[in-house]
Symmetry: D3
C-alpha cells in the first residue's frame, strides 16, 4: 500500500524528520512517503498558520489521488484541514492528534498532551473534545518552545519537554503522554524510556492507524458529509483548486 | 463605527444581497460594508469549499485592519476561519451561525436550523456543539437546495424553505428557526410572518452582535490563543500572507 | 424603542447606578429606564433572596407590558425569574449573566467570572451550564464582598476585585473577565483598562443584547414553553398576580 | 420523625390527595403532614406559576423550622424553590421530580416522564439535566391534561395517562415510567399493575427519600451555597419574609 | 421485608462490620442480613479483584432469590456486578457508591469521595459519570490505605481519613463527603461530628435506598436490558451458574 | 509479534470463525491465535453472561502472559473484563467494540451499531459513552437474532442484518456501520460491498489496533489504575486466581 504523510508546513528538515519517524514504523510492504506543500507557512503555531497551510495540504491530497495513494496522514498536531482532506480522498485520512489521542485511550486511562507554545493549548483541547477524548485528556501543557526550535541542534528542547512530561505525571495524575507536535517525533523513544509510561508520537501513531484502515479495506464514507465536493468555479490565486466535475 | 461584512464566497449577487440585509439593521452612525474575497469558491457547500474560502477571507480582514475597521461579520453559516480571523483582528469578529444560535437561545428554548444541502448538516451540528448551543438546537434540517439556487429568480426556494420550517416546528418541537445560509437573509421577514415564531437570519444577527461588541468597547482578547499570529515566512502562492513582525 | 432595565433588589442607589450604566451604552433612539420592585430584598445573595425578588420583578414586567415596553433586562447576575419573565413579556427578556457570558464567548476563549460572595458561585456555575457556556467558563471566583459594600464610598471593593481578576488571568488561564454582579457596572472600564483584556459588565451587555433583539424584530416565542401563562386564581398576599384571561 | 409535605399550589383537594399518598408509604414512627401555602396559584403549569408559588412554599418551610420539622418534600414536579428551601431548612429537603428520577435510575435503565401540559416538558428536561439524570431520561411526554382536570371525578385522565405511558414503552424504549405531576399520585398503583413496569410517583418517592436522609442523620450542608441566607431587609408585601439575624 | 447486604469480598470481619452498620439503620420490620461469597478475593482494590468477586456475589443473589429476599445492597464502593445482579433479582439491587452519591446530591451541592488506594480513583470517577453524578462530584481523593488496614485495630486509618476529608472541604470546595469504602462504615458518625458537614456512608445509604424501593413496590424492570438472563450452558468451574430455563 | 484473540464465550465454532477473521487481516510476521476459555457461558447476551465470561477470559490472559504474548483482543462486543485484563497484561489489550468504534470515527462522521438482541443495546450505548464515541454513534439497532443463530447454516441472519443496516443508513443518517457482534465477522465484506459504505468488524479492527500498539512499543501503562493487581488470597472455586506476589 502507498501512504502519504503530509507535513503541512514548508520546513524541509521537519519533513525529513517526520518521514524518518513514519518509515521507521511502516509495515512491510507499505510504501511511506513524506511531503510538504509548495505553499504556506514555515511552521504552524496559530489558527492563521493552520488556515494558510490547508490549501497546500489539499494540493498534496489531490496529487496523491491522481497517483493512487491509499491513505494519508496529516502530520501537524492541530490536524488542519482534516475534514476537507477526507472529502477529497477516496482512502482514509488520519490526523496525528486524532491518532495519538485514540491510541493513548487504549493503553492508559488519562493522558496529558505536552505541546510547544501555550497559544496552541486551546486547539488541542478543542480537538480532544471533537474526537470525544475529553474524558481521557487530563491536561494540555505547553513548554513555550517555538516549533522550529525543535529543529535546532544544541537547543535544550528535549530537557524542557521531559521536565514538562514529569510535571504531567505528578500534577495531572496522567498515566501516559501524548506529544503535541510532529516535530517531537524523534524524541518519543527517549522520553518513553526515561519516564517508563507510554509516550505516544502522533506521526508513528498516524501511520499505524491509516495502514490499519487500508488493510481493513476501509475508505472514507462517501455518503453524506464527506462526499466528494461539488465542482465549482474557484477565483483568483486559488483558481487551480477548481475540481473537475 | 465601521463594520465589514465578509461574504466568504465570490458570488457578487450574494454579496450584494448580504450587504443589503446587513445595512437594513445597522444602527445609526454605523457604516456597514459588504465585501467578498478576490480568491476562492463561488459558493461554500463543503469543508473543501470552506478551507479554500479562508485565505481570501483573511485577506479581507487584513485589509480591514489597515483601514481601521472596528468589527467584522463572517457571512457564511459554516463560520469559516473564525478563529484565524480573530487572531488577525484587533476588534471583534462574529460568525453568522454563532450570532444566530446565541440570539435564538434568548427568544426561545429550542431552535431548529434549516439549511441548504444535507451534506452541510454535520458542520452546523459541530458549530452548535462548539458554541455550547447543543442543548438549544433541536435539529438541523436540509432542503437539498444548492446555495446558488437561492440566487435564481423564479426558483421555488422560498416555498421549500417554509415547508421545511413547518416540519421543524411540528416534528422537532422547535419554537424558533435559525436560517442556515447567508443567502436566505432576504427571506427572513417573510418566513417569520408566515410561521409566527422567531426566525433568525445570521447576517442581521451578526451585524447586531458585532455592533454591540464595538459599542461596549470589547475587542478580541490578545492574551493567549487569539493573540496576533507570530510573523513567519509563507511560501509559494500564499507568500503574500506573510505578516509583518 | 423602550427598554426597561429591572434591578430586582430594592436598593435605590444600586438602581441608579445600573440605570446610568445602561443609558451610557443605549443606542440613539432607545429610551432606557431603570426600575426596581416595590417588594423584595435589599440585595440578592442567596437562592432565598432570588426567590423573593421574583414576584416584584414580575410586577415590573407586567407593568412594562401595559406600557408597551419593547424589551427587558434583568439586572442581577443570578438572572432570577428569567423564564417566568419571558412568559409574561411579548418582547425579549435578557439576563445580565446570560448576556455577559454569551458576549464573552465571542471576544475570548475562556472567561472567569469574578463575583461577590462565595455562596453565589454555585448559581453562576449553574447558569453557565444552563446557557451552554461551561466550556468557555474557566472558573467562578468570589471576592467575599457583600453586594451592598459595592455601594459604600471608601470601601476597597475596587482593589479587591482587580486583584481577584488578576488571579483569574494568572491561575485560570482566562483571557477575559465577566463581572459577576450588577453592582460592579461602574468599575468595568477601569478594570478593563488596568488588565488589558476584555472585561464584560452584564448590565451594558444586557442592554446591547435586548436592543439587538428588538431591532431585529425578534420577540419571545409564544409557541410552547414560553407561551403566556394560563390565567388562574392566585390566593392571599399574591392575589394581585392573577392574570386576566 | 416529623416530615412536612408541601403542595406548593393552593388547591386543597390536591393537598389532601398528596397527603394520603404520602402517609400511605410513611414508615412507622414517622409523622407525615401535608400542607399548602396561604398564598400563590391554584395550580402550577408555567414558570410564572412556579415563581409565585415559591414565597408561600418558603413560608411553610419557615413555619416548619419553628415547629421542629425534620425534613420536607416539595410536592410539585417542577421542584420549585428547592434550593431556597434548602437554605432555610436545617434538615433535608427533597423535590418529587428529583426523588422520582433518582429512584427510577435504580430500577431500570431508561425512564420516560409522562406529564400534564406540553408547556411543562422543558422544565422536566431541565431538571433531568440539572440532576444528572439526562442519560436515564428517554423522553418527556405530555398528555395535554391541565393539572386540575386530574382532580375532576369522571374525567378520562387515567385512560389518557395510561395510553401515553404505553407509547413511552413502545416508542421511547423506556423500561420504566416517572409520573410527572403530584396530582397523579393516586394513579400510580393502577398504572404499574396495568403496564408491568416500574411506575414511580414522586410524592411517595420523596417521602421515602427524605425519611431515609433523616434516618441517616443527614441534614442540608450549611457549608457554602446552602448556608442560611444572610438576614436583610425585605420591602413591601414581602416584608414578612425578613429573616431574624 | 428481607434485605440482603452482600459484602463481595470474603473477609468475615468486614462482613460483620458491614452487617452492623446496615442493621443500625434498618427500619423496624425489616430483616437485614449481611453475607459474603464463598469464592473470590479477600479485598477489592482493582478491576481484577472486582471481576473475581462478581461470580460469588451472583451466587449470593441467586440464593437470595430462592429464599425470597426482597432487595439487595452490594457493599463494595466499586458497585461490582450491579447490572448482572439486577438481571438475576426480581426486587431492587442498589450499589453503595450509587446510593451514597445520589443521597449526597440531595444534602449538598458538591461532594468529594474519600477512598482507600489511589488506583481505585478511576473506578469512582467512572461510576460518578455513569450515574450522572459528575456535576456533583468535586473530586475523588485517596488516603493510600489498603482496604484491610481499615480492619486493623490500632492503625491510624481514622486520622488519615479525617485529614483527607478536611483537605476535600478546603481545597475542593466540597460541602459534603462520600466515604469511598464499605470498610469505613463504622467511622461515618465520628467524621460527620468532627467536620460538621454531611458525611455519607454507602452501606447505610444503600440499606435506606433499597428499603425505600421495596416499600414503594418498585422492583427491577424486566422489560429490556435487565430482563432475566436467557438460560444457556455454562462450562467448567462455573457450570453451577447455569440458569434453569 | 504474538497476538492472542480471546473469544470469551465457550462456543468452539465461533472461536474458529473469529480466528479466521483475525488471521485474515494479521500483518506479516504476526502470529495470531484465537482461543476461548475453559469456563463460562456458551454465548454472551446479558450482563450476567458477561460477568461469568470474565474469569475464564482472565485465565487466558494470565496464560498468555506466561507464554510471552505481546497483545490481546477481547472478541465480544460488550468488551467484558477489559480493564481487569489490562491490569494483568504487560502489553496492550483492545476490545472489539472499542476498536471498531474508534476506527469508525475516522472514516465517517456518524456510525450506527447493528447488533443481535435488543437487550444488549444498553451495553453498546454505555460503551460508546465510556469511550467518548457518543457524538459519533447515531444509533444502536438490534436484529433480535440470538448470537448462536449466527452460527447456524441456513439461517437468514445475513439478510436480516443487511436489512437493519439499510434502515440505519436511511433512518439514522448514518454514513457507516459497526457490526455489534464478533459472530458477524464473516459477514463484513459482503455487507460493505452491498451497502457501499464502510462496515467495520471489531475482530479485524481489534487485531489491527493491537498490532499497531505493539509495533509502536506501546504497552499498558502501569502507573496508577492499570497497575498489576496486588496479590491477595482468593477463596473457593476461584482459589486458582491468586496472583503470585
Amino acid at each position: 500500500m502507498r501512504i502519504l504523510v503530509i507535513n503541512p508546513n514548508t520546513t524541509a528538515s521537519m519533513t525529513a524528520k517526520i518521514g524518518e519517524a513514519a518509515r521507521a514504523v511502516a509495515r512491510r510492504g507499505s510504501e511511506v512517503t513524506a511531503v510538504s506543500p509548495v505553499m504556506g507557512p514555515a511552521s504552524i503555531e496559530s489558527h492563521y498558520d493552520e488556515a494558510l497551510a490547508v490549501p497546500g495540504l489539499l494540493q498534496c491530497i489531490a496529487q496523491g489521488e491522481r497517483e493512487g495513494v491509499d491513505g494519508y496522514v496529516i502530520a501537524c498536531f492541530g490536524d488542519p484541514g482534516l475534514k476537507a482532506a477526507r472529502e477529497l480522498a477516496r482512502g482514509p485520512v488520519v490526523g496525528i492528534a486524532e491518532a495519538a489521542m485514540h491510541l493513548a485511550s487504549m493503553v492508559g486511562t488519562r493522558f496529558s498532551v505536552v505541546t510547544t507554545l501555550a497559544r496552541t493549548i486551546g486547539q488541542a483541547r478543542h480537538l480532544a473534545e471533537a474526537y470525544g477524548m475529553e474524558r481521557f485528556c487530563a491536561n494540555v501543557r505547553a513548554c513555550e518552545l517555538p516549533v522550529l526550535e525543535l529543529e535546532e541542534p544544541g537547543s535544550n528542547a528535549r530537557e524542557r519537554i521531559v521536565a514538562e512530561c514529569r510535571r504531567a505525571l505528578d500534577e495531572d495524575g496522567a498515566d501516559s503522554i501524548v506529544l503535541g507536535c510532529a516535530g517531537m517525533a524523534d524524541l518519543c523513544a527517549h522520553i518513553q524510556q526515561t519516564l517508563a509510561v507510554p509516550v505516544i508520537d502522533g506521526v508513528a501513531a498516524g501511520v499505524q492507524m491509516v495502514e490499519s484502515l487500508v488493510a481493513l479495506g476501509l475508505r472514507t464514507s462517501k455518503r453524506g458529509e464527506l462526499a466528494r465536493p461539488l465542482p465549482k468555479s474557484m477565483a483568483g490565486l486559488l483558481a487551480g483548486f477548481t475540481l473537475a466535475p
